[in-house]
């Protein structure tokens, strides 16, 4: 990858270098095999964790690395360039830590966060339900207070890391209907009655388990309520604002991988006596791919810098997620085209990139929902 990065500090350079080094040595050689076998790379994530890469954007006082989002996202991009599942796993873990890190009490942060950020544990985020993804405020999983515990019942759907996560950020209904009746609970992965179902058979991301989780009378201590009672929906949305940027960074890394592969191929493959990249029809296609990736990266980093500066960033984050993931879809589609028949067979990774890109337009708010977020701001004259 020949991306010129402008990083804010020497420390940040070291962080990104370390990520790249581990990605080259540990991710790149394993991705094809693990994807083919559908095995989750738990040990690879431990390696990242031990290196300190599972708590990047959280404060050092809580056990994180205190890195700006701008740096964290470029680490995700480097990981996604080799293996999007691993980058997404880091992103989901970061998302799962968000409620405690931003809304937890001092005592909760002291008790849980250092462990969560130390790198040995992996998190999951339980918001979506079978009946509702986009309309998350209509969720129906219930958490009923009984003494000093909550009794949780219901089913969550499409949960990344279902069955392999050590803890979950769970959103459940504690009050009346709508967004105002949702609370956030920090739930241990081995809680009795927490039942991950059979993993879904997916189009891509085959090395990452995605499954329903049934909550069957799961008892959760009341001191695991994160934020205020019935105040969970705001936390869920704030988490997704930040999480979206992670998905955008994954999309940029994935698209860059597809571009680099396509360029290398087009420089070597000859037809009609010359390298196919010399045909303007293909050269221009690659030029457009490269340009839209550069734009997606900058939009993503712009949103991150707004966040790092403490400015409102959710519109920019929605724009970045929308643009970067649509870019990844188009770029990976075109990369298949550049390889012709070889793009359609699994001897080359481009068909996998193509399948992986699709999901990025769906998760953490579909791209229709991103447009909705952006349009609403415009309608309000903001």
């Amino acid at each position: 990858m020949t991306v010129q990065r402008i990083l804010p500090s020497e420390e940040a350079e070291a962080v990104v270098d370390l990520a790249r080094q581990i990605a080259d040595a540990e991710l790149a050689p394993r991705v094809a095999d693990f994807e083919a076998r559908g095995e989750f790379p738990r040990e690879v994530l431990r390696t990242l964790g031990r290196a300190g890469l599972l708590g990047l954007p959280y404060p050092e006082a809580d056990g994180g690395a205190g890195q700006p989002y701008e740096v964290y996202l470029q680490v995700l991009e480097e990981l996604a360039y080799r293996w999007v599942v691993v980058a997404e796993a880091v992103s989901v873990h970061t998302l799962a830590c968000f409620p405690l890190a931003t809304a937890g009490t001092d005592r909760q942060r002291d008790t849980y966060l250092p462990q969560l950020l130390a790198g040995d544990l992996l998190g999951g985020y339980c918001l979506t339900e079978p009946a509702g993804g986009s309309d998350a405020a209509s969720l129906s999983t219930s958490a009923v207070r009984e003494g000093d515990r909550f009794r949780v019942n219901g089913t969550k759907a499409f949960i990344t890391h279902a069955g392999v996560a050590d803890f979950y950020a769970l959103f459940a209904r504690t009050g009346g209907p709508g967004a105002g009746g949702v609370s956030c609970l920090h739930v241990p992965g081995d809680a009795p009655g927490l039942l991950p179902q059979r993993p879904e058979d997916k189009m891509g991301l085959n090395s990452s388990p995605t499954a329903q989780i049934v909550f069957d009378d799961v008892m959760v201590d009341a001191d695991r309520l994160v934020g205020e009672l019935d105040g969970g929906f705001r936390i869920a949305m704030a988490a997704l604002d930040a999480g979206r940027l992670g998905i955008a960074a994954c999309a940029v890394g994935l698209a860059q991988a597809a571009l680099d592969h396509a360029v290398e191929y087009a420089r070597q493959r000859e037809q009609f006596g010359r390298p196919i990249i010399d045909f303007q029809g293909l050269g221009f296609l690659l030029a457009d791919m490269a340009t839209s990736i550069a734009a997606a990266r900058e939009l993503t980093l712009y949103a991150a810098r707004l966040k790092d500066a403490g400015r409102p960033f959710s519109t920019a984050a929605a724009q970045a997620k929308l643009f970067a993931t649509d870019t990844a879809m188009r770029v990976t589609t075109d990369a298949v085209q550049v390889l012709g028949g070889y793009g359609y067979v699994s001897d080359y990774p481009v068909e996998r990139y193509f399948r992986e890109a699709k999901v990025l337009q769906i998760v953490e708010g579909t791209n229709q929902i991103q447009r909705l977020v952006i349009a609403r701001r415009l309608a309000k004259g903001e």
């Binding site: 420390e11 962080v15 370390l18 390696t47 031990r50 300190g52 890469l53």
Partner: protein, 259 residues
């Protein structure tokens, strides 16, 4: 126990490498990295430190100014401090004179165990541990694939072509390791940050009491007078199978001592 790990900065063996006009390794224009096996020596030291068997790990390197990058890299894996012997007169040293510099530097340090790689990825002489053992008057156990420490007793499994030998010695001693000994850890972010603050002592030849003309190109015991690039790969030998292909293959493999 105090451990000193020898570390060398070398041109990246994964990239194209060149010799200077005087046939010494071109270090100035190369992309320099830590010699790969040195990471195994550091890992061996840090494993002992993690197990509570070593209370101080020092990195020692002889090299030009930019070798300090390699020192930081080594320190980010966990050692406590570093010593950098730097003197323009050292440039062009052969392995024998380098061993004299290292021995002199070790003389300024406290150590129970000196760990190093069996060979470097640039010179690949593979004699440093032996030479240091001789110069320091301590045991040198080379080519280790396993090292255990029991008080002052060191036990090494020495990798040989057809198995291994078990060697023992008491401290102080020099042990050189192969990559079969362990898998080096990645530095952690915390390690990288901490490495910037760890002490690095720079020593010159006069600090070590060595005369400039005993080292470097002047004092070298060997000199490269000619070098040629490796010839391009030849096309290889093609066996056409006319019913006897298998036999021909087996004969070829036998003639090359593969079978």
């Amino acid at each position: 126990m105090k451990i000193v790990v020898l570390v060398k900065q070398v041109p990246d063996s994964g990239l194209e490498r060149h010799l200077s006009s005087d046939f010494t390794v071109d270090r100035a224009s190369a992309s320099n990295v830590i010699s790969e096996l040195d990471e195994n020596a550091i890992e061996a030291a840090m494993a002992l430190a993690d197990a509570g068997q070593a209370d101080e790990v020092t990195v020692l390197t002889v090299g030009p100014d930019h070798a300090v990058e390699t020192i930081r890299k080594a320190l980010s894996m966990g050692p406590d401090k570093a010593v950098h012997v730097q003197d323009d007169a050292i440039a062009g040293s052969c392995a024998v004179t380098t061993s004299a510099v290292l021995a002199a530097a070790l003389g300024t340090l406290e150590y129970d165990l000196v760990l190093c790689a069996t060979e470097s990825t640039d010179g690949a002489v593979g004699g440093m541990a032996q030479m240091l053992g001789a110069r320091l008057g301590v045991a040198a156990m080379t080519g280790a694939r396993k090292l255990t420490v029991d008080g002052q007793k060191l036990t090494v499994e020495r990798q040989t072509e057809d198995g291994h030998e078990t060697l023992t010695a008491s401290t102080p001693a020099v042990v050189s390791v192969w990559d079969s000994m362990n898998t080096p850890r990645y530095p952690s972010l915390k390690g990288i940050m901490a490495a910037k603050r760890k002490p690095v002592t720079t020593l010159s030849l006069s600090d070590l009491g060595l005369a400039p003309d005993t080292v470097g190109a002047a004092g070298a015991t060997s000199k490269v007078v000619q070098a040629e690039p490796r010839p391009p790969r030849s096309a290889g030998q093609r066996i056409t199978d006319e019913g006897e292909g298998g036999v021909a293959l087996a004969e070829y493999l036998a003639s090359q001592k593969f079978v």
